[in-house]
Amino acid sequence: MARYHACMTEEHSSMSALRRGTIEFCVLALLAEGKMYSVELVRRLGEALGMTTSEGTMYPLLSRLRRNERIASEWRESSAGPPRRYYYLTPSGERALATFRAEWTIFRRGVDRLLGTEQS
């Protein structure tokens, strides 16, 4: 019952607001390197961010990015296993990534200064 309540609003779901807001751009950054299928994307994110217990939450995020037209996808046959959905960045996604890169640098510097977490 308690778990149900915790899941009732998106704000309280497993990914914190900060993670959710930034992971989205990590996805865009990975796709800026080239087309990738979802399992590959999830694996790369897991390696970089250490999220190995909630890989499934990536799919609603990818769906949202598709609906916002930041990314698009196409199906490709595979030599092993089912056809795979390959994701790629759209021009709008590229712009969003560029904007975020600039904002993030300023934001991160400000937060580090306030929290006293600057790296020397």
Binding site: H5, M8, T9, V39, V42, T57, L62
Partner: protein
């Protein structure tokens, strides 16, 4: 691929389906198909196999309710909406409760005012009455 392996996968996807009952059908289907693809791809890509492998894949995918919540579903609402009457009845009941409460408080107000009026009228009638009515004599 054993029957038990498939059952584990279908059970998991059924939990996703139940938890996303309040999402548009297209989004629900898409999420389930994405997860199914994820599971099938990992089954061919990762070494190992068998039931332990399936369990590990599903564990890493995580809690179906958390995934549903991330997709914008409200699992508790979704669970209730599989039986629509369950949602409607309590709401109707609570509305009825409000009306009963309102009627009862109105009745109480009428009774109090009525008795106040009655007692003050009686007091006015017999000023010399030796038994005072203290609670009512105050304005």
């Amino acid at each position: 691929v054993t029957e038990q392996d498939n059952r584990l996968i279908e059970d998991y996807l059924n939990r996703i389906e139940r938890a996303t009952a309040d999402l548009p059908q297209a989004r629900r289907t898409e999420l389930i198909e994405d997860l199914r693809e994820h599971i099938q791809v990992l089954r061919v890509e990762e070494p190992g196999g068998g039931e332990a492998h399936i369990r590990s894949i599903l564990e890493r995918l995580g809690d179906p309710e958390a995934i549903a919540a991330e997709a914008g579903a409200h699992p508790s609402v979704a669970a209730a909406s599989t039986a629509p009457t369950n949602v409607a009845v309590p709401r109707a009941r609570s509305r009825l409760g409000v009306w009963i409460l309102a009627a009862l408080s109105l009745l109480a107000v009428i009774l109090i005012c009525g008795s106040l009026f009655f007692f003050s009228a009686r007091q006015g009638e017999s000023q010399s009455d030796p038994v005072p009515v203290p609670a009512v004599s105050q304005p």
